[in-house]
Amino acid sequence: MTNAALKTDLLEVNLGPQHPSTHGVFQMTVVLDGETIVSLKPVLGYLHRNHEQICEDVSYIGCFPYTDRLDYFCAMTNNFGLAVAIEQLGGIEVPERAQYLRVILAELTRLVNHTAVTGFLLNDMGAFGTPLLYAFREREKILDLFEMASGSRMMCNYIRPGGVREDVPDGFVGRAQEIVAAYPRFLDEMETLLTENEIIRQRTQGVGVLPKALAVNAGITGPMLRASGVDYDLRKVDGYGVYPRMRFKVPLGTVGDVYDRYYVRVLEMRESLKILEQALKELPKTGPALSAKGQLIGRSPRTFRPPKGDAYGRIESPKGELGFYLVSDGSPQPYRYHVRAPSFINLTVLEDMCRGQKVADAIIILGSVDIVMGEVDR
């Protein structure tokens, strides 16, 4: 019997903004035919905080604490992105040691983000918090490291134009090496728990497929793009910082479904560990962590008046290409400040991935996109 004969109605359901698994205040207006999704409309803006406008009213240094709050899982990479943009704008050199520290912190952030995302994805699938808590257990250790360096676990405000705010304390490298050495064991355990699990395979394989062409056309970046099989990693493409000196590989998926997105992240974590091992070994023992100009900017932010012009600084954040576009009119504040937020742009293909899937799939597809509403709504 067809649906027409049964005279069934379509059901419109609002998932969010207050919903356990929309990763914050995100709303999806879903039209359901039974359990199948007919259409899905994302509704954004519940967490809009006027980020860009606020940053046009404070000094360049004053923007940094606000970037911590963009994607609050990856404060370090957010700082890094803005620092790269400001360095381009003001022509600031970065000392060698700072370059290495930045790479170390960025890769640690990638571990934090990918670990947490895997945990959240499993929570979206309905696990009773166990993978999430394992993920958070490991994340805590890295956050301790961030606290050691910057004084704050999540809102680091640590990477500055010209280097990092202050050099890392004694013992940082040793602690980091311990964590890096112990991490593969956790990844193995996580994989035993998840990768081969039949329930997870059934739930994720073939679900939410993002075709290669669509991914490229929609401007998707990060692990999501690589899961669809496109080899594009800014660490390789731009080769910013000391990444060209690091030996690491870029994992690529084949299908582009939720499972690929999960597994590409796991593989990326393993590659990050390789980078971390190298960077921690090669980190110059001495040398400044902040250039002289950087110190000057830090102590008196209003003296920093970059020449008129614009700059676009981008890095490979754990979620994708994080770009900061700055326009300077010669004043201490940016004239225009724009964030290219990877979660926001990756979210644009949500409906294409969800259409025709079940409502339960929509949740895990959203989970696999890896969004943080702080970055999406800004």
Partner: protein
């Protein structure tokens, strides 16, 4: 002595009013006593199940779990109960008030009624109903009605979706559940649960090929019927907020929870009764030896892993095959039931849930055919007693299970290779 403690206590209590009351009233007292016991124990069991679940899952997640209220958080359930009682009772605007109120009650009643026929120990069933097995199947299926009632009466889309899933799921899983009980009834020749337990005096049913499969199907479909992970579709938190009980608060919400936990406990209790020998324990002289042998095997480092596992299974089988008189029968029963409760919580602590359609597929494409084959296997086993029957049953089951797995293996279930460029 300890074994029949509660039986004697009941008899003593009954003789006391028996001296004073007319005989007609005495019969009523005899009826009311077990009812009172069940009605009093049911909430207590439920409360400590929540505590147990939180503790076990917390430990699995490297946490301590509730430890603030009382020693080891033992009075946490009481605090939760008080909290539930003093919470505002909300009925959503536009909801069907009457149905909204009676739905949780309708869910709880059958959950308590189930315990009436449960043989908790030797001579310790409240009622030895001669259609006990039929009774539990009939009573437990009332809960689907309550779930739909509650979901529909809430006037909430999430609730309705949850309720629809619940009804589909409970009805689907009822079938393999009934069919696995059929095998037991065939072998014992009685619908009475007391008779089923007595029939396992020689050896628990789970130690037979058909019994193991029936226990698995019964337990799995039982988990699905009481909506627990990995089959907790109707209240899938990540999708449907809380499913059919989204709009419930306060004590009515507590009633839903109580019903769910009691049914989960009942599933474990009935699996114990039907397949794990009920209150029968392994024989005294044998099981310590089995335990010792198992420990030696477990710590034997030179042996290969699979060999050690086989040895352990052998020890377990030997322990199961015989029974003990030393430990009271009700203690055996509770031990086994709580072991199953642990498995239930363990599953919840480990797995994400299946999707609604995959869940249905599992019931209709895997459990149902397996349960049907199992009936034939049980027939073979009882027609040809001894090793021959066992082997035929085993062959049948292993073959069909393998075939079912092959047929059901989804196309997407594949190992993938990932390219690492540069």
């Amino acid at each position: 002595m300890l074994d029949q403690l509660f039986v004697h206590a009941t008899r003593g209590l009954l003789t006391l009013p028996g001296r004073m009351l007319p005989p007609a009233l005495n019969a009523w007292v005899g009826l009311l006593l077990p009812i009172a016991a069940i009605a009093a124990l049911a909430p207590a069991v439920m409360m400590y199940l929540t505590w147990l679940e939180r503790k076990i899952i917390a430990r699995m997640q490297n946490r301590l779990g509730p430890n603030r209220v009382g020693l080891f958080g033992l009075t946490q359930p009481l605090a939760d109960g008080v909290k539930m009682l003093i919470k505002e009772d909300i009925v959503p605007a536009g909801a069907d008030r009457l149905l909204h109120v009676i739905a949780p009650v309708t869910a709880l009643l059958p959950a308590i009624l189930l315990f009436a026929v449960l043989p908790v120990g030797r001579n310790m069933a409240a009622v030895d109903l001669n259609v006990g097995a039929l009774y539990i199947l009939a009573v437990s299926s009332i809960s689907s009605l309550a779930v739909f009632m509650g979901g529909w009466a809430s006037r909430n889309k999430f609730s309705v979706l949850g309720a629809m899933r619940a009804v589909a799921q409970i009805i689907s899983y009822e079938v393999p559940s009934v069919l696995s009980v059929v095998a037991v009834i065939m072998v014992t020749g009685s619908l009475s649960l007391v008779a089923v337990v007595n029939a396992q005096a020689e050896g628990w049913f789970i130690a037979t090929p058909w019994g193991a499969v029936a226990a698995l199907t019964f337990f799995l479909s039982g988990i699905a019927e009481v909506n627990r992970t990995p089959f907790d579709m109707p209240e899938a938190e990540s999708e449907l907020v809380a499913g059919f009980h989204t709009e419930y608060s306060g004590m009515k919400f507590a009633l839903w929870y109580m019903a769910e936990f009691l049914e989960a406990f009942a599933v474990c209790a009935f699996t114990t009764t039907l397949f794990l020998g009920g209150w029968q324990g392994p024989a005294w002289p044998v099981w310590p030896w089995c335990l010792a042998a198992a420990l030696v095997l477990a710590s034997a480092r030179t042996l290969a892993g699979p060999l050690r596992l086989l040895g352990l299974l052998g020890c377990a089988w030997a322990a199961v095959a015989l029974r003990s008189e030393v430990v009271p029968s009700w203690a055996w029963f509770l031990l086994k039931t709580y072991a199953l409760v642990f498995v239930l919580v363990w599953l919840r602590g480990t797995f994400p849930r299946l999707r609604a359609d995959q869940l249905m597929g599992f019931a209709w494409k895997f459990l149902l055919p397996l349960a049907l084959v199992n009936i034939i296997a049980a027939g073979c086993w009882s027609v040809w007693p001894g090793l021959r029957g066992s082997l035929i049953a085993l062959g049948l089951l292993v073959g069909s299970a393998w075939a079912l797995i092959r047929v059901n293996a989804p196309a997407s279930e594949q190992r993938r290779t990932y390219v690492l460029v540069e």
